[in-house]
Every structure is written in structure tokens, then in C-alpha cells.
């Protein structure tokens, strides 16, 4: 293995470990704000969550036993010199982190039930490659738990229902999930594109810090409205009732076919674990804990 390959494996494994054990500050702040406005059982849940976050950070242990499926999003320059090294370093880093952190071995063969034990397998870890002009690379890690992934949904809406139809479908879906995805959740909504793209956009929307608004005014307003509507439901933390069902809703969109209105709803649990790395063209790697 070349020096750069080794460095990539080690740094990526370190970032996976950080993502599993240290919750990003934007999520902690959002949880603290939620705790301050809640009372009763809802407040008990948020206090337990925040205590858990502290224990995990201090003891360098995973925040949640479901350390998720390691998922990668790589924005790489078309002239980025380490693409080949990165390609092989990603699964290697997952194996290393699974042993070292440790992460729960979460990859199961869908037909035989066999678990390789190292969080890799066919098509896993999955990487979304996003080429951009330039010579550096940016890597986003999103280890996503199974409970919240089970609450993701694709709705192929009738275009005539318009944006009201989108609002209704998002609110009804998130509310129907109740306590299952471990609320307060962060919801990524992808509108348009196509069946697969709408869900992918929903996932990409989760890479933004919690509560950071979409740069376009209409989209930002929709995010705010969806948050308010969902939180008016009363589902609350862990589905035990309360004011905070979502910490944030992030929306992304793509142009759609005139006959289709795809809506991808991606639900992320309160343990919105993320890590971010930047690789310079000279081979420097910086982990930036969001």
C-alpha cells in the first residue's frame, strides 16, 4: 500500500470513529434548544439523550449501538490526483474502524443472512461520487441507523396535487412514523428528479448542518413551514408526546418530468452523526468535525 493509501485508510477510519462517538455541535445545540422548550416525559427523553451524548464523547464510545451503515458522499475535483487510492481506501477504512472503534457489524446478506462481520459487502460501503471542477476532494460521512432508514419513503405524487400535495405527504408520513425513527428527527426532503434522484436529494439535504437553510428563499420558506406543521402534530421526542418532533427539515429539488412529481423523504434520527474531511491536491487531509 502506498503512503497516501495508508494515510487515507487511517484518517477515514478516524473520521468514522469520530462520527460514531461525537455528535456534531449543530445537532447538540438543536437538542438543547428542544430540551429547554419541553417539559414532562419529553424533557426526560431529551435530558437522557444529552447525558448519553456526553457519556459517549467522554468515554469515546458509540453514541448509539446502531452505528449504522457507513455511507459516503465524495465531491471530488476532476483533476483530483488520489482517486484510485481513495476508491480502495474507503472499504479498508470501514474494516479498520469496525475493529477499532468498534462499530457494530451491520451488513447482512439479504438471501442467506450471512454477516461478513466487517461492515462491508456487495455494494457496501456505498459511495455517492459527485465530480466537480477542481483538484481537491471533500468527503462526507453519514453513518445512518436502520430504525430511521426504515422510515424513509418514496411517494410518486400526481403533479396536479402541487406543492400542497407535497406538504401534506411529508407531514402525514413523518407523523405516521411516530416514535419509530427516534425523534426529534432531521428530515431530508427531495422533490423532483425521478424516483431514485428524489431519495438521493433527500440524503444530500442531510449533509447540511442542522437548521442551515437552503439558499433559495422559496425553498427555505418551505423548510420552515414543514418544520412548523410537523411539530404542531404533538408526536414529540421518542413519540411520547411533546413539541419537538423534528429538529429541522432540509429540502433539495431537481427539475421533474411533466407527468411526475417524485417526493423522496429521508428520515434521520436525533443521533444525526456526520463527519467531513477535506483532501488537498498535495495530499493533506483535514477532518472537520461539523
Amino acid at each position: 500500500m502506498s503512503k497516501m493509501s495508508e494515510k487515507l485508510v487511517e484518517t477515514l477510519a478516524e473520521a468514522l470513529g469520530q462520527a460514531a462517538t461525537v455528535l456534531p455541535n449543530d445537532v447538540i445545540s438543536a437538542l438543547e434548544r428542544a430540551r429547554d422548550r419541553e417539559e414532562g416525559p419529553a424533557r426526560v427523553q431529551l435530558e437522557a439523550i444529552l447525558r448519553n451524548v456526553e457519556i459517549a464523547k467522554a468515554g469515546q464510545v458509540p453514541i448509539c449501538q446502531d452505528t449504522g451503515t457507513p455511507t459516503f458522499f465524495v465531491r471530488f475535483g476532476t483533476k483530483f490526483p488520489y482517486l484510485e487510492e481513495l476508491l480502495s481506501a474507503i472499504p479498508e477504512a470501514v474494516r479498520l474502524a469496525t475493529r477499532k472503534v468498534p462499530l457494530r457489524p451491520n451488513t447482512v446478506h439479504p438471501l442467506t443472512g450471512e454477516n461478513p462481520g466487517d461492515n462491508t459487502g456487495r455494494h457496501i460501503p456505498h459511495v455517492t461520487w459527485l465530480p466537480v471542477p477542481g483538484d481537491g476532494a471533500e468527503i462526507f460521512l453519514l453513518p445512518k441507523g436502520g430504525g430511521s432508514e426504515n422510515c424513509c419513503a418514496l411517494k410518486m405524487l400526481t403533479p396536479g396535487l402541487g406543492i400542497k400535495g407535497v406538504k401534506k405527504a411529508v407531514v402525514e408520513h413523518v407523523v405516521a412514523c411516530g416514535g419509530k425513527p427516534c425523534p426529534p428527527t432531521v428530515v431530508g426532503v427531495g422533490i423532483g428528479g425521478g424516483a431514485d434522484l428524489s431519495l438521493k436529494l433527500g440524503k444530500l439535504a442531510l449533509l447540511r448542518p442542522v437548521g442551515e437553510r437552503h439558499p433559495e428563499r422559496e425553498v427555505a420558506a418551505l423548510e420552515e413551514e414543514l418544520e412548523e406543521l410537523i411539530n404542531a402534530s404533538g408526536v414529540g421526542p421518542m413519540g411520547l408526546g411533546g413539541k419537538t418532533t423534528v429538529l429541522a427539515v432540509h429540502v433539495e429539488y431537481a427539475h421533474r418530468h411533466p407527468a411526475s412529481l417524485p417526493l423522496g423523504i429521508v428520515v434521520q434520527c436525533w443521533a444525526d452523526r456526520r463527519a467531513h474531511l477535506r483532501i488537498s491536491p498535495s495530499g493533506e487531509i483535514v477532518i472537520r468535525n461539523p
Partner: protein, 195 residues
């Protein structure tokens, strides 16, 4: 009311609990997820489960020499176990179920019949849970089912806080909340249509 239930937990003790109570468990707790429920029902339990706490959990564990250490052990979504739980309660009589998200009608009825409660542990609070686990007593079906699905037997001290969400008198916090949420949803739908 906040109290500590010590295993083996007696039927009368759980029948006295009411939805909304906060409890802790000390003593022996075993994990079982989907596959473990199926296997235990098919083949019987390798140790007596009556009076113990059943935890819907797939833990993260680490082996140091011959000793297992629990790194993180929060609850998994209980709804998936609805398939098995009524039968499981009748057959094995664990007195406390620990999970998240709640369970269905069949389990609620079985809780009343058998004398057991379903309690909610904060989802994702795996590190908080691990702190209350004093040690791993046994593990079953590890080779066959893998780490998350195996039956782990833990010694615990003041494991919680656990909110009694479904009690043995047929009351479910989830069902109560569902009614409130449905009422709120009528207003929310009207707001969307009117906007």
C-alpha cells in the same frame, strides 16, 4: 412514581405499575431481536426467562481476553417484534419488555393476560444504557445469529430511566397519543389546504 424493579420480578409488582410511571431495572436482562425471538420460540429457552427483563437490543460489544464488554446498547424498534411477542410472553413470561416505539394490539392484550409491562428506553441512548450494564453473564446463538441478533444476558444496575408506556391494565401511552395526534392532524391538514 420512580422505582427500581429487581429480577426476578413478580407478576403482582408489574401489575401495580401504571402507564407513565418511570422505573429502573436491576438484576438480569436478556436481549432478543427478530431472529432471537424466532429461534427461542422454535427451540425453547436455554435458561429460564420468567421474571426477567427482555430487551429489544442489538448491542455493540468488544471482547477483551475471555470477557465481553458492552460498548453501546440502546433499544431497537420494537414494532418488528410484534410478530412474535404475544406468543413469546405467554411461553416465557418475562415481566418487563424494554424497547422503543411501542408495540401493537396483540402485545397489549398479552401484557394484560400474562402480567407484564412494556417500557420505553430512550432510543439511541446506547452509551447511557451501557453505563448501567455491569457485565455479560452469558451469550447464546452467537455463532449462528451474529453479534446484534444473539441473545445476550446482562447483569444490570439501575437500568433506565424506563417509561412504562404499555401497562398490564391495557393502557398504552402510544394509543392515547395517537388520538391527540389525529386531532392535531385535522387542523394541520386544514391549514395546508387553506394556505
Amino acid at each position: 412514581m420512580e422505582k427500581v424493579l429487581k429480577t426476578p420480578i413478580a407478576e403482582e409488582e408489574v401489575r401495580a405499575l401504571k402507564a407513565g410511571d418511570v422505573v429502573y431495572v436491576s438484576g438480569t436482562l436478556f436481549t432478543a431481536r427478530d431472529e432471537a425471538h424466532r429461534v427461542l420460540l422454535e427451540r425453547g429457552a436455554p435458561f429460564p426467562l420468567e421474571g426477567l427483563a427482555l430487551f429489544h437490543c442489538g448491542p455493540v460489544v468488544k471482547k477483551a481476553g475471555e470477557t465481553w464488554r458492552v460498548v453501546a446498547a440502546g433499544p431497537t424498534t420494537s414494532a418488528r417484534m410484534e410478530l412474535f411477542e404475544a406468543e413469546f410472553l405467554e411461553k416465557f413470561k418475562p415481566r418487563v419488555i424494554i424497547g422503543k416505539g411501542g408495540m401493537g394490539e396483540r402485545t397489549l392484550n398479552a401484557l394484560s393476560e400474562v402480567g407484564a409491562v412494556y417500557t420505553h428506553f430512550t432510543g439511541g441512548a446506547g452509551a447511557l444504557a451501557a453505563q448501567a450494564i455491569r457485565g455479560v453473564k452469558e451469550v447464546h446463538f452467537l455463532e449462528e445469529l451474529g453479534i446484534p441478533e444473539a441473545v445476550w444476558v446482562f447483569e444490570v444496575e439501575r437500568f433506565g430511566p424506563l417509561v412504562v408506556a404499555m401497562d398490564a391494565s391495557g393502557r398504552s401511552l402510544y394509543a392515547d397519543l395517537e388520538k391527540t395526534v389525529e386531532k392535531n392532524m385535522d387542523q394541520i391538514r386544514a391549514r395546508i389546504q387553506g394556505a
